[in-house]
Amino acid sequence: MLDIVQDVSLKVKYQEALVIKGASGSGKTTLLGLMAGLDQISSGDIELLGNDLGDKNEEQRSAIRSGKVGFVFQSFQLVQGATALQNVMLPLELKGEPDAYDRAHQSLQQVGLEPKKNILIDHLSGGEQQRVSIARGFAVQPKILFADEPTGNLDAKTGRQIADLMFRLRDQSGTTLVLVTHETDLAERGDRQILIDAGRLIDSEQGQTIDSGPKRVSC
């Protein structure tokens, strides 16, 4: 078995914007997935919103995430063939929210896409699709939002706009943000940056491996 992330001890604070930086293949996306409960750790402890994920199966982890965790993906991951509005409604309806339509509407207004709410995703530009993705991420009013390279598939200008939007919404909602990126400009907008290299955390300011103590990740 290959250890992709090892000897990591990390705590994400309430309403903090934590940026995980690292080169390609460094393990940053794996770390994000583990923190978000998308994958299971092979050893150690991991806690999400006060819930220990270490011994939970996918079904239990999904229940923990439900309505409390939002995601923004590099390649948007929207439902093709559905409209912008329907995409935002999806997590709300999966959670069983009765006012999914109105809340999705509101969320799209916040990202400035209300006029295009009934346009099929396939007909929106990359920047617009990422806005829909952000609207979907924030629509469930998550306590924590995980964003994996949110500007990675966009040009520099659109990337900046998306970053502005995401941080604005995070400021408005007070949502904790965990963001993975390799872009310095975006990383600098976080409250705290950590660097990961070959699956180990490096203190980004001092350039040394953090003496992590007990292996525990909590957010």
């Binding site: 996306t29 794996t30 994000l32 997935g33 998308l38 994958d39 996918e58 079904e59 999904s62 229940a63 995430r65 439900s66 309505g67 965790v69 995601f71 993906f73 590099q74 390649s75 991951q77 439902v79 093709q80 063939g81 559905a82 409209t83 509005l85 329907q86 409604m89 999806l90 997590p91 309806e93 999966l94 959670k95 999914a100 339509y101 009934n118 396939d122 979907r136 994996d148």
Partner: protein, 818 residues
Amino acid sequence: MLKIKSSGIQSYWLMLVATVITVSIVTSSQLLTQRISLLLDRQASELLAADLVVVSGEPISPEYQQEAEKFGLNVSNIVSFRTAIFIDDNPQLVAIKAVDSAYPLRGHLEIAKDTVGDKLKVDHGPKAGEIWVDPKLSQLIPSPVTLGSAQFKSDWILTFEPDRGGGSVFNLSPRILMNIDDLASTGLIIPGSRATYRLLFAGQPEKINQFVEWLKPNLKAAEKLQDLENARPEMRQALDRTRQFFALSIVLTLVIAMVAIAITARHTANQEAPKVAMLRAFGISQARLMRFYAEQLGRVWIIATLLGIAIGWFSQYPLQWLLDGWFGKELPVIATVMPYINAAIVGFISLVGFSLPFLFNATATPPMQVFRPSQTNQSIRRNLIIAASAIFSVFLVLIVLVQSSKLAIVTLAMILGVALILPAIFYLMINALLFTSRRQFWLRQYLLSRLKTKTRGALAVMSGFSLALLSILLIGVVKDEVLNSWETQLPDEIPNYFLINLRTDEVPAIQKFLKGKEIASSDSYPLVRARLTHINEVSAQDIEFINPHGSHLIKRTFNVSYADKLPDENEVISGQWMEADSDTPEWSIESGLANSLGLKLGDILAFDVAGEVVEAPITSIRTVLWENFKPNFYLMSNRRLLENQPQTWLLGALITNDKKGELKQLIQNFPSVTLLDITELISRIRGIVNRATSALEFFFLFAMASAFIVLMAAIQTGRREREQESSLLRALSANIGQLYTVHVFEFTLMGVLIGFFAALFASIAGWVISVQFFEIEYHFSSSIWLYGILSATLVLTTVGTLVSRKVYHVSPMKMLRS
């Protein structure tokens, strides 16, 4: 130099399996249909006692026999004539048939010691010095029997002769069968005697055909050829239906196999697209990639041909084991390699025609797909090429396999039409369903969006699966309709005896006798023997008929009848049936005869009836269901025209085994009556259709195997997308129940739509085929809808859910990795 490495045959395994099935279907169907056809023809030949007969009023040239023997054919000579024998000083007209030792060439004779005793099957006629007589005569004539100037021993009753009737079952006198070597000693046949000479031939079909080619130009005016096609109308109809049903079922089974190849090829091409994009980005030319895929297809074809031929060949054995029981005898062996060659050709055409365009399409994948995987290379032009190639391949296959079968071509045209419009129908249907309630996305709108997104995937797969199901339903529905119509026409109460040669004054007494013995009988009909002399006042001898059958027909003596009401299962298609009390003479003619003689309403027909000219116009043209074994007539008139002409009567009776003992008394009470047992004829014709359709049920296995491949391809095609979607839903916190729900509903929705349209088009096609080709009444049944929708839904949902079960456990991390 960069070398393209094959990813192995496993990339093409579904396509390979589909092609193996195609080749197996062709091998198996060709071998079996040829063998069954040969057997059916032989069984049918038994009704002629031969494969081919030359009939003449004069002795037939020995040259025919010599020539036939050169072709390796078996030959038999028959002379038949009528003469009177004296029973208790009363003359009795008998039909004598003198046969040689080779008779019958096909079928068998049946003899018994007495009228109710056990019957014995024999394959030769009486020995010299011996005669076999009709059951009726056996009660009356003494032994030895005097025929002309010779005496014969008469120990056996002739209960069955395969070729009795030879064109009309009603035209019979009591039979005496004798050996042809004794004929001269009787002195009954002298130059100028009125006799019918028959030369019977039997052999391999191709030899018969070659001989017919030689014979036709040599035939004299008085000689006519009789084969299965013109021997018995009821047999011809049965054989035609059977052959058409064979052709139809095989074409439909092949359609499913071809759909399987197309869908699996599409799946393979989609899988290859990313590899192609990468190779093209590295500078590999499209031509080189095309060559590479052509080589891959070549490998698939060679493996599929070898496996398919082997499976097709082996499949004969279980099938033969099944069929031997049904047919009661072994299937004849065919020594020809054509089935294998045809199978290899059809496999090649199907594989190339259906898969090459998809793979060549894949070679045009833009290198940009390396960066933008969503960029597709679909275009209307490419889709048209794919469609054109498929259509062309299908017609090539038809040329190889069914050649002139109009039914198969029309069916295929219908299916192609459906194939073209189905994706559009599904697209419109999904859009129409999407239009409603936009306030709620999960679950219905989500499902429909997914189906619509994968427009070219889901819709093509749904269309393919619909076509496969349509074909299966169509085989089933047409088979049921053909069999049902056959069974309906032949209820258990069908008369199994004809009582003929009844005198007019005897009819009420005979009917009373039958009623008293609780024997069911049909309506009675008069028979008047008539010879056509003039059509519209022109001598029939001087008329040149366009249809060669017409010139034969005018030489025959017709048994015409009259009736007040239209007989059962006759239908007037032109003109009007005669008024019962009409004083104006009128004819009603059977449509087939009208066509052969080129007759129409208003034409005036003159007949010679016992030396008197009987003339009337045609006022109606009828269709006649010859297969129903009820008294049927080519020509009928109103009562006024024939009532006073010399006539005998006939009626049908159902004489069950427990009533057979009454026959003796019937014959004693009414000595002029001739009994004609048609049980054997009915059961043989019924058996031919039943066995042939049962045999075809075997092809259902191939049809189901192909449909299963289509199903697997359908499920495999959307698998990658399903994994991606499940991963996304998981990341968005969907629970496993919601994942199951979405997949079960997707397969259920697809199943319902597929089943509905398959049933709809199968009903329409079934109606067209039944009415247009089988000429049977079509009953729209609810079972086709039930089977169609239920089977599609259950199979798709069950197999789809089971095969896709891994999808439910896909990690949401896939979202981050993709």
